[in-house]
């Protein structure tokens, strides 16, 4: 399941409800809802951890499974590949989207709806449908223009050691989140006014870009980067259908032979993703706090 949304950051103010005399009911109901859902969300995590550390033979706790991870067959390969793909996706996404977002905000506001709609499509479109289409296009190389440089390029994209085609597709999948993160940063900081003020004070455009735009976007860029990292590290569908081995597909591959290990690795990848997303949340809160002071 590809990641679906960014972290909202816990900013914003809850509306004040008028105090009404004698309303006990909602308190109990709210507690019940929170208790049941709290259990539902915590138990699977706890159970997985327990699953990986329980020592059935000796009846204690052992971290042996986790110790096995670094040395496991294919782990280093798959993990570093996923990491590399993630970093490349982040770089390409930012290279593509930062200028776009800034341009739309400062110069071409009329294109905003079109851009927003386009970036919303990957969210709604099933990734599996997209990957079927990508596969079909890739199949043109052997089918239609074999022995041309274009075909060679197509083949190079699918190099198993570092499949660039995955990067290209992942950028599309990450589009909604990257755009939203950058757009929020641009709008929230009223980039237009800032740049106009800088221009009015005599700054040239390159100077404005370096001194005004980039610093303002720093938090959103980081935001977008972490979201994309989380997405790519967890992405399974595209990699599996196109037949490459990334971290998630590796987990599935070894799950048959080493169930405990695969759960342990899942827990680990979960922790990594959480850490990334909590970082985003902290960044958001810091930005929110700065704006409120």
């Amino acid at each position: 399941m590809t990641s679906l949304t960014g972290v909202a950051g816990a900013g914003g103010v809850a509306p004040e409800t008028p105090v009404r005399p004698g309303r006990r009911g909602p308190g109990a109901w709210r507690f019940a809802v929170l208790a049941v859902l709290g259990l539902y969300f915590i138990v699977p995590i706890g159970a997985s951890v327990w699953f990986t550390v329980r020592d059935r033979r000796n009846g204690g706790v052992t971290f042996g499974t986790y110790a096995q991870i670094p040395g496991a067959e294919g782990f280093a390969d798959a993990f570093t590949r996923s990491l590399l793909l993630a970093v490349l996706t982040v770089v390409l996404s930012l290279l593509l989207m930062v200028p776009t977002v800034v341009l739309v905000e400062l110069r071409l506001p009329r294109l905003r709806t079109a851009v927003e709609l386009l970036t919303l499509m990957p969210l709604v479109l099933p990734p599996i449908a997209l990957v079927v289409g990508v596969r079909s296009v890739l199949a043109w190389a052997p089918d239609y223009f074999l022995n041309t440089p274009l075909a060679d390029a197509f083949f190079a994209l699918q190099e198993p050691a570092l499949p660039w085609i995955l990067v290209l597709v992942y950028v599309v999948l990450a589009l909604p989140f990257v755009y939203r993160a950058l757009d929020a940063g641009v709008r929230g900081s009223d980039l237009k006014t800032l740049t106009e003020a800088a221009r009015n004070l005599g700054a040239s455009w390159p100077r404005v870009l370096v001194s005004v735009v980039l610093p303002v976007l720093r938090t959103s860029v980081l935001n977008a980067a972490f979201l994309t990292l989380a997405l790519v590290l967890g992405e399974f569908t595209v990699a599996a259908i196109l037949g490459f081995e990334t971290f998630p597909t590796w987990i599935v591959r070894i799950s048959g032979s080493a169930p405990k290990l695969s759960v342990a690795v899942s827990v680990l990848s979960l922790l990594i993703t959480w850490a990334l997303l909590l970082l985003i949340s902290a960044l958001d809160r810091r930005r929110g706090a700065k704006e409120n002071s």
Binding site: P18, V19, P21
Partner: protein, 366 residues
């Protein structure tokens, strides 16, 4: 349950209904460590228009919300027409409230908004439509009946809010800073309109504002609140001419604070003496409190004062005059006869020949 009679009530009917009296007894309200209301006592006569005035945090909105039923006071009582309504929930109190902003239901048209109170009382469509039209005509927006709130300007929205509050012929009309979010010109127009409608309907009205000019211009009586207590409640002129405390004096209108000295029953200031009005502080340093229009200024080459700025506002002009002891006073003069009093001119400033208000010379908080 509600005081709305079985048949539709129109403005004519409201006029025949005498306004109901509202009484607040010892209202106390605490938010955590902050005391928003500190034993507030207030008596409002039927049909009276009372403005609650004060700086932010003084408790005026809290008091209003206590009357409306949105905020349950920790202590004290709210009585309407002699009946204790402190424990009556907000939706059974038969009061009309106009909020500062954003209170119109966005998904209903203007007419549907106005008719909302009737709809929840189960009136039929014909009656609702008729009443809505009547009230929209009263506020001058009959032609906008089918618009949606977001299509109206701020002033128009507030007029619709007023119509909506009045549609159910409430016993009391409450207004929570209804004009604060509007442009200056719209504010003046709308406050006059509110007053006109209120006089026509004779409905008891409580109007909360932080703008003293607004309060003074529309109300029968103005109550100045500070830190949850009522400092003074009186008619606008009495409040202005005879403020009971230094806080009221400074909050209402502009007041100059001049260093002064008390000597046997009179006060020395600006090089002359004047009798003291009201209670004089017993001992210690004092300041004289004088309104800008109660000072006389004259060009005088040998004069101690010097004009710093000159602010024209139509019929009168306000001069800021610097005095040798470092203090500055504001003096209002008629624009027509003071053309010579430009910045830099040497002048003499004297208090008018009437008793002067004196207060202890400590800084006023808030």
């Amino acid at each position: 349950m509600t005081a709305v009679s079985a048949r539709a009530v129109g403005p004519a009917d409201l006029r025949q209904r005498p306004g109901v009296a509202v009484r607040l007894e010892g209202l106390t309200r605490r938010y955590g460590s902050v005391l928003a209301l500190d034993g507030l006592d207030l008596d409002i006569a039927g049909g009276e228009f009372v403005a609650l005035l004060g700086p932010s945090g003084c408790g005026k909105t809290t008091a209003l919300r206590a009357i409306a039923g949105f905020d349950r006071p920790d202590g004290g009582r709210v009585l309407v027409d002699g009946r204790d309504v402190t424990d009556v929930p907000a939706n059974k109190r038969d009061m009309g409230m106009v909020f500062q902003a954003y209170s119109l239901f966005p998904n209903l048209t203007v007419a549907e908004n106005v008719a909302f109170g009737l709809r929840v009382r189960g009136r039929d469509k014909g009656e609702r439509r008729g009443r809505a039209t009547e009230l929209l005509e009263l506020v001058g927006l009959a032609d906008r009946a089918q618009r949606y709130p977001h299509q109206l300007s701020g002033g128009q929205q507030q007029r619709v809010a007023l119509a909506r509050a009045l549609a159910v012929a409430p016993q009391v009309l409450l207004l929570d800073e209804p004009l604060s979010a509007l442009d200056a010109q719209v504010r003046v127009q709308l406050r006059e309109e509110i007053r006109r409608i209120q006089l026509e309907l004779g409905i008891t009205t409580v109007f909360v504002t932080h703008d003293q000019a607004e309060a003074l211009s529309v109300a029968d009586r103005v109550g100045v609140l500070r830190a949850g207590r009522l400092e003074q409640i009186a008619g606008p002129d009495e409040l202005y001419e005879r403020p009971a405390t230094a806080f009221v004096a400074e909050f209402v209108g502009t007041m100059n604070r001049l260093p002064a000295r008390l000597t046997d029953g009179a006060v020395e200031l600006l090089g002359t003496r004047r009798p003291v009005t009201g209670a004089a502080p017993a001992a210690g340093p004092v300041v004289a409190l004088i309104r800008p229009e109660s000072l006389l200024v004259q060009a005088d080459a040998a004069g101690p004062g010097r004009v710093v700025t000159r602010t024209f506002s139509g019929a009168s002009t306000r001069l800021l005059v610097a005095l040798p002891d470092g203090s500055e006073v504001r003096v209002d003069v008629a624009s027509a006869v003071s053309q010579d009093l430009t910045p830099g001119t040497a002048v003499t400033v004297l208090p008018a020949d009437r008793p002067v208000l004196v207060a202890p010379a400590e800084p006023i908080p808030g």
